[in-house]
């Protein structure tokens, strides 16, 4: 087993390599290989893998890229991530990418897909319309059509015909990936001091820019490591972080939350890698139907999924309960419609349920957190003060 510090620093390097060196190296090893960039939140990476491609997550430039051209594309009242993505595209960070996928999460990313089309970036641009109808024979069929479009685009580039065997093999690899991730989350729930959120974040995010096989190896090593009695417990409260599923806060902010007295035991920062709960059937003769089925019936709550029959406030409350968390930190990217529009739903419900929370906004490029740190510190202190008074958490309406 490699030294955990080496693994973590390699993951940090990978997670924030804005030139995607590993992905490009991988592609250069074989002429039929393609790189497909996808934006947050979720995309069924299995299908790209099965088509001989490497799905690579694009999370913008964070606090590591100075925006020069992107600001000219977006008004001041639009979140930061699209301008950093455009800036990266114009500065050729995505050279050698074959296609780009924009999952349907908000109007900003949707319209960014049109700008990519207009600019002619990549060999294909696909706005991936995830179904908001949850009947397998209606929304599920439409979702399969959407996946077939993507496969068609890739086949036009590399000629690879995706068979059920190939798809099932890929599904199996991603099942393993999700299982390992959840295993580590479960350990961190009980022993969050064994692996800091900052390090865990780097490890998770690295998995979105390298082949899944390599990430699985890393996760296996990390899982071994966290099984051991490592690290030292500190007097911190446990929180769930919610609302930062697209534009990512800088790592400094994550560290500040931890430094201010909170263990983050669950979060939606890298929601895409964990969107499906449990395994997808890897033995089906119709693997696309299996993926669609899993999306419809096994998805986590998300601001991008219409929650008509499954209200998100109760789902988040359930996570808080299951993770034995003391409260919730709502962190929304500034001007992020999906996150901010959900805020009153969560907060009004949590007021009724007696779940403690705080809310703040961030921007990916800001790395001054004095105010947030004070706010989080006061929050964790207040929880410690009231820790004898458990809040009741109803998990059903």
């Amino acid at each position: 087993m490699r030294n955990i510090n080496n693994i973590i620093s390699r993951c940090e390097e990978l997670a924030f390599d804005l030139d995607f060196t590993r992905a490009k190296e991988w592609k250069n090893e074989d002429k039929s290989r393609v790189i497909v960039g996808y934006m947050p939140i979720y995309f069924p990476r299995e299908i790209i893998h099965a088509a001989g491609g490497l799905p690579v997550a694009i999370f913008g430039g964070g606090d590591r890229k100075q925006i020069i051209k992107g600001d000219a594309y977006y008004q001041s009242y639009i979140c930061h991530i699209p301008r950093s993505i455009i800036d990266m595209a114009l500065d050729k960070h995505f050279d050698n990418f074959d296609g780009f996928i924009f999952p349907s999460i908000c109007d900003v990313l949707r319209n960014l897909s049109g700008i990519f089309r207009t600019k002619g970036f990549g060999k294909f641009v696909k706005y991936m319309d995830f179904p908001q109808n949850f009947l397998p024979e209606v929304g599920g069929v439409f979702y399969q059509d959407e996946m077939r479009h993507v496969l068609h685009y890739i086949k036009e580039i590399n000629g690879i015909k995706v068979t059920p065997e190939r798809l099932n093999h890929s599904i199996g690899l991603y099942n393993k990936n999700r299982r390992l991730i959840e295993f580590i989350y479960d350990i961190r729930e009980k022993y969050p001091w064994r692996l800091s959120m900052k390090d865990w974040y780097h490890i998770l995010r690295a998995g979105t820019v390298i082949p899944v096989e390599e990430h699985n190896e890393i996760l296996e090593e990390v899982a071994e490591y966290v099984k051991g009695d490592v690290g030292q417990r500190q007097d911190k409260v446990k929180v769930v972080l919610s609302g930062a599923f697209c534009e990512q806060p800088s790592v400094g902010l994550i560290r500040s939350v931890e430094d201010a007295g909170c263990y983050i035991v669950d979060d939606d920062l890298q929601l895409g890698s964990r969107m499906v709960i449990g395994d997808i059937d890897a033995t089906s003769e119709e693997p696309l139907a299996a993926i669609a089925h899993a999306y419809i019936f096994q998805s986590r709550y998300s601001s991008s999924i219409y929650d008509v029959d499954n209200p998100k406030e109760y789902r988040l409350a359930k996570i808080v309960e299951e993770r034995n968390a003391d409260g919730v930190i709502f962190a929304s990217a500034s001007f992020c419609d999906p996150s901010l529009l959900d805020a009153p739903i969560f907060q009004n419900a949590f007021d009724r349920m007696g779940i403690r929370y705080i809310a703040f906004q961030f921007s990916e490029n800001i790395n001054q957190f004095k105010v947030i740190k004070e706010q989080v510190g006061a929050f964790s202190d207040s929880i410690k003060l009231w820790e004898d008074e458990p809040s009741s958490i109803p998990v059903a309406e």
């Binding site: 009242y77 897909s113 908001q132």
Partner: protein, 430 residues
């Protein structure tokens, strides 16, 4: 919709009657037993609502009407007191605030609660969030969502149409039957759609009249009144057909007499600039906003906003022979459901065909569906057509984001630039 007060043409009276009638029916819905359906303008299924004898309520229309009546600021504040962010669509907050303060509609009459929330999820992600919020406020209402796929590839594919038609069969129609107690009657729908088609023919002709010089209408500031009936539930009615026919005849008469558009201060005397405008208007200072334009002799000959409730310019119509399919296509064909290249093409076509001198973007803080990408579109259009472009920022119904002096200054410099350019062009041709 409000009416222009200066000269009351017959068409205005017809429109007023239609709208007053709707609000009166809504007020009496409880007594008459009519079911009430809350829904949105883009992708509205008014024909289907009518087919089930329901009455529509459009939350965006209530919000914009509240703004025109200077009530939106208080509503927005109320919503913000309940954890609604300062930075999200103000239509949502205005609506939620109005609800919290007793749901008194724009005409001063109380609006009935919905029996059904019909979310036609077309062209705007916020709609979904808005209805998630409303669903929690009205736990007894039946909720039905129809997901309209985005025209990401610049076209409507058979898969997209099938998906929508299946949703109608499996979800929308059964739930509407259940709530209304009325069976779906395709023949009835076909008859309604025939009127829709006719109304669409007339409104298309109306919005083509600005091709004349001088333009007989302002296709943005007056245009928002013209789209009222077709967008708020009257599309499949003989009344709408009559209204649009009448309006068309009145405009023809203006053309015959060589008259320019009617403004709140009377007729615009000299047409100096012809503009195409992208983006919704500001509603809180609608009159002042409009005045900046007509005082400068600027007339809007085409606008994207008047296409939010349906794009008819390119020939698409409801088709009574394919009732559900055409409802599906209608939803997919609203302006904000078009992809950015399609929007650029449509605006380019307008600029060329209507002989516009300039292209102005009114960027609305509330509305990412419109605003995200507008700068790139503007640059593309500027490069392609070498047309002078103008850019202003405001908001829909939040008066805090309408800065009269900023907008006026910007527009004045823009008009100055247009003047100079016109002079230079005139010199070159001599």
């Amino acid at each position: 919709m409000a009416t222009i007060e200066v000269i009351k043409e017959r068409s205005m009276i017809l429109q007023k009657e239609m709208i007053e009638g709707l609000f009166n029916d809504l007020e009496k819905a409880h007594e008459t037993g009519k079911k009430v359906c809350y829904t949105f303008v883009p992708g509205n299924l008014s024909e289907l609502i009518r087919c089930f004898d329901m009455l529509p309520v459009y939350p965006e229309i209530n919000a914009l009407q509240s703004a025109m009546r200077k009530k939106s600021a208080a509503y927005i504040k109320e919503a913000e007191r309940h954890a609604h962010s300062e930075d999200v669509c103000t239509y949502v907050k205005c609506d939620v605030g109005m609800l919290m303060k007793g749901n008194i509609g724009p005409t001063g009459q109380k609006l009935p609660p919905p029996d059904i929330l019909l979310l036609s999820y077309t062209g705007c992600f916020t709609f979904m969030k808005w209805f998630e919020t409303l669903k929690r406020e009205y736990p007894n209402a039946k909720v039905v969502m129809i997901h309209t796929p985005y025209q990401e590839g610049g076209k409507m594919t058979p898969e997209m149409v099938n998906y929508m038609v299946k949703q109608m069969h499996e979800e929308v129609i059964p739930k509407m039957e259940e709530v209304s107690g009325i069976k779906y009657d395709e023949n009835k729908l076909k008859k309604i759609l025939q009127y829709s088609k006719e109304a669409e023919d007339w409104i298309t002709k109306i919005f083509e009249t600005p091709k004349h010089r001088p333009s007989p209408i302002d296709a943005y500031f007056a245009g928002v009144y013209y789209i009222g009936p077709i967008n708020i539930g009257f599309r499949g009615t003989p009344e709408a057909v009559e209204y649009y026919k009448e309006l068309y005849n009145e405009i023809q008469e203006r053309i015959r007499l060589g008259l320019g558009p009617v403004t709140p201060e009377g007729e615009m005397k000299e047409e100096k600039f012809r503009l195409v405008v992208e983006g919704p208007p500001n509603w809180t200072s609608f009159r002042e906003f409009w005045k900046i334009f007509y005082d400068m002799g600027a007339v809007i000959v085409a606008s994207s906003y008047t296409k939010v409730g349906g794009v008819y310019d390119l020939g698409w119509r409801h088709d009574p022979e394919k009732p559900l399919q055409s409802l599906a296509e209608y939803c997919m064909n609203c302006y904000t459901n078009l992809n950015i290249p399609q929007r650029i093409d449509l605006l380019t076509k307008c600029i060329k065909e209507y002989g516009a001198d300039g292209y102005v973007t009114n960027s609305i803080k509330s509305c990412n569906s419109f605003s995200a990408g507008q700068l790139a579109m503007m640059r593309e259009i500027e490069d392609k057509l070498e047309i002078p472009v103008g850019f202003i920022e405001s908001d829909l119904v939040d008066p805090r984001y309408f800065s009269y002096s900023n907008i006026k200054n910007r527009l004045e410099s823009y008009f100055q630039m247009l003047s100079q350019r016109k002079m230079m062009e005139a010199e070159e041709t001599h």
